[in-house]
């Protein structure tokens, strides 16, 4: 059998996890997963939180998400090895080969560039897919709806322009 959960099961489980996290019996806060990146940048580059207002500002959510991230890495690793059996080292996704090119260098350079602007974008907006789209929209926050709308448009326009939609198939 194709080892994965259907989308509706994923949606229901994710909804359960969001509710657990929001609940006062859980963590009494939303799920987020982009604040940990500048938090870890602060750790790796040994920046003093007293000197950088932003590090001070994200101290609490950054550390919370840092622990959650460690859990997510562990959960993702265990699931990929024992359940989906999808663990393998790879440098270039099949879809990139089909719709972009076969160059590993191109994939790595674009990945680096995209990772860089992704975190700047998420921190400018104050959240990412988890913090805004899932947690924010679940609270019916207008900020999340604006973010969600802009992201969807930018995503689809980029997808159209960046990839060769009918190649090699």
């Amino acid at each position: 059998m194709f080892n994965r959960l259907p989308w509706w099961m994923g949606g229901i489980l994710m909804s359960g996890l969001l509710l657990l996290t929001f609940s006062i019996f859980g963590a009494d806060r939303p799920i987020g997963s982009s604040t940990y990146v500048p938090y870890f940048a602060g750790i790796i580059f040994d920046l003093n939180p007293e000197k950088y207002s932003y590090l001070k500002h994200i101290e609490a959510p950054g550390s919370w998400e840092g622990i959650m991230l460690l859990g997510a890495l562990f959960g993702g690793f265990i699931t990929s090895v024992f359940i989906t059996k999808s663990f393998r080292f790879s440098l270039i996704p099949t879809g990139w080969k089909t719709y972009k090119n076969n160059s590993v260098a191109s994939r790595l350079l674009w990945s680096f560039f995209a990772g860089f602007i992704m975190i700047i974008g998420a921190r400018l907006a104050g959240g990412c897919t988890s913090g805004h789209f899932m947690s924010g929209m679940s609270q019916m926050a207008i900020s999340a709806m604006i973010f969600g709308g802009v992201v969807m448009m930018a995503l689809v326009v980029t997808g159209r322009l960046f990839y060769n939609l009918k190649e090699k198939r």
Binding site: V37, Y52, A60, F89, T94, G121, L124, G127
Partner: protein, 221 residues
């Protein structure tokens, strides 16, 4: 421009700061360290088991060849919005609404959307891909950490002014006073219906399909 200030004199090694991270969570009253870790494990498990961390799912959605990600996201939002609203009314949870910082949301959203299409991951699904051995995403994460560094260094001088004015924390039901419950139900039900009615499109990864016997291949049905 910000000068880079290091804190070597205080002998704060990476190990010390990781301990600081754990201590910070202990003092936050947002769940025990074990619970937060467990939330992460479940989060990673759901994303991995539904395979939405794959390049073909997010970049595939950008190309409008795969709709699993929006279907799952909209369903999670639709169900959670109704349940959460009544949970908050009953005192079982609180709102944690993010403010409308219009310029930040729009500029940030454009950058985020572009990078999500190219990388085929977001900050939540990226680490799960790395955990299953995707080196290209690890390179993306290194770019991300440098992005986080640049954001931190130039926050006061450049990024904060760029984000513009804070227009406050507003939610949809607040815009319809007197009809809050109705608004919540309409929102939750419509978003759930959107999730169900988005046509199901799938872009498969040959590398995964090749492992399956022909008759079970979902693309050949």
């Amino acid at each position: 421009m910000a000068d880079i200030v290091f804190i070597n004199e205080h002998t704060s090694s990476i190990a010390d700061r990781l301990i600081g991270m754990v201590e910070s969570v202990i003092h936050q009253e947002h769940g025990s360290v074990a619970l937060v870790f467990l939330i992460g494990v479940i989060f990673g498990g759901i994303i991995q088991y539904t395979r939405v961390d794959k390049f073909e799912k997010i970049a595939g959605f950008a190309m409008l060849k795969d709709t699993i990600v929006p279907k799952m996201l909209f369903l999670a939002v639709g169900l959670t919005s109704i349940a959460l609203y009544f949970m908050i009314e009953a005192g079982g949870a609180h709102y944690h609404v993010k403010p409308i910082i219009l310029q930040g949301l729009i500029i940030g959203g454009i950058l985020f959307g572009i990078s999500m299409a190219i990388l085929g991951k977001c900050p939540g699904t990226g680490p799960i891909s790395i955990a299953e051995g995707r080196i290209d995403v690890l390179v993306g994460a290194i770019g991300g950490v440098l992005g986080g560094l640049v954001f931190t260094l130039y926050y006061d001088d450049f990024f904060k002014p760029l984000m513009g004015e804070n227009l406050g924390k507003v939610t949809l039901p607040e815009l319809f006073p007197g009809y809050e419950h109705l608004t919540v139900l309409i929102f939750g039900i419509s978003v759930t219906l959107i999730a169900i009615f988005i046509p199901k499109l799938e872009l498969f990864d040959e590398a995964d399909l090749r492992k399956l016997p022909d008759e079970t291949r979902p693309d050949k049905k």
